[in-house]
């Protein structure tokens, strides 16, 4: 085993100047800007859905998009703040109110539009939706993973959960804008389901993923 003074010497020898991280809010904003660019790109490729204005007038749909977006933004801020070792874990609660609004809104839509939910409804259409979801979500998740990689060495799991929620919220709010689907309750439920799945996966595999890109 190397002795501690020797270790210190070797670390000192490797002490190149480093660029300090920018404040977490600025970094979160940078990531959200990237998400915005993704939106522009997706809209340029697929085009906004023609009935967007009409859909946004339906309160259930508008609240869904708004709450998902707020959840995503606040979760991103929480992830960037908590990824620093000396910040309070209480920041993790930041996206919770928006998340609750999102969930309650979907629950409400489900109850009021129960009759619209027919069993076995066009599940075949969902494959295109999955592809769009992956195309939007994967670059966002990868960027976030790399931007937060320093967290691997202290406490990756809460950061991964917040990060997963951020990606889920952003994609869930972007997709209905250009994806050509009716604003059926099914879509809303489906979005939230994906969000839950993504966040759970981030919690379960976050540590491993961060270790994979960790600084050495």
């Amino acid at each position: 085993m190397i002795t501690t003074p020797d270790l210190i010497e070797s670390l000192v020898a490797r002490a190149e100047p480093v660029r300090r991280l920018r404040p977490p809010l600025a970094r979160a904003a940078a990531w959200l800007l990237f998400a915005g660019l993704m939106l522009v790109l997706m809209v340029a490729i697929k085009g906004l859905r023609p009935d967007l204005e009409l859909s946004l007038r339906q309160p259930g749909f508008a609240i869904d998009v708004g709450a998902a977006l707020a959840t995503g933004i606040l979760a991103a801020v929480a992830a960037f703040v908590v990824s620093l070792p000396d910040r309070s874990r209480l920041w993790l609660w930041l996206p919770v109110p928006a998340l609750l609004v999102w969930i309650v809104n979907i629950g409400h839509s489900c109850l009021t539009a129960w009759v619209d939910l027919q069993p076995g409804m066009h599940l075949g259409d969902e494959t295109g939706c999955v592809a769009a979801l992956v195309m939007t979500g994967a670059p966002l998740a990868l960027t976030l993973l790399i931007m937060l990689r320093h967290t691997a060495l202290f406490d990756p799991t809460p950061v991964a959960v917040a990060g997963g929620l951020a990606v889920a919220g952003i994609t869930a709010s972007l997709l209905p804008l250009f994806h050509n689907h009716d604003a059926s309750v099914l879509i809303l439920v489906w979005n939230l389901g994906i969000a839950a799945l993504l966040t759970a996966a981030a919690g379960a595999f976050g540590r491993r993923m961060f270790t994979w890109v960790a600084p050495r």
């Binding site: 210190i8 000192v12 002490a15 190149e16 300090r20 404040p23 202290f154 406490d155």
Partner: protein, 215 residues
Amino acid sequence: MPSSPSSAGPALSVVKESAESSETRDPARRGDRTLDWSICMARAQEGDREAYRRLLEEITPYLRSLAARLIRDRSDVEDAVQDALLSVHAVRHTYDPMRPFGPWLVAIARRRFVDGLRRRGRAAARETPLEAEHETFAAPETNFQEAASDGRAVREALAGLPPGQREAIRMLKLEEMSLKEAAAASGMSVAALKVATYRGLKNLRKIFGKQGTQT
């Protein structure tokens, strides 16, 4: 074991006591020190090696006292301290000089110590230390029967290899010669030796793989 708890006990308490007297009992001084550390880290981030060395040397006893409170085994304490130093080095760009240095350091160190404890706990659950009562006889040779039969199996497998591969493995792996020495002794080129060793090991693996599936 060189570091039984009884031998570690007094030494630990010395470390702890001195740490407490300098760190926790004198908050004014602690404040000064962390301000000092904060400046050192800020300069280290800009590449000032002297400041970085001073910082690492000064935080080491502090980390040691912190680790000693969590970890009982003294040799593990030093491991944990080194782990924490490596982590501090790896994430030194996350320190914001506008904020106090102490909480940043303690958060990283604590996380590394707890991770280390967990890792050692897992290893301890899987491994059983080989102790005196596991030996059949006092003489050491009597406990090497397994090794002896393994050696025979390897020799038999080696005998089945083509001569070039056998020689390459014998010289490079069993007699631990360097590539240059083996090349001089056998007259084969280094590249040929490498290829022969690679093929030989592959064949051996095949032979033992077959035996493994048979038994």
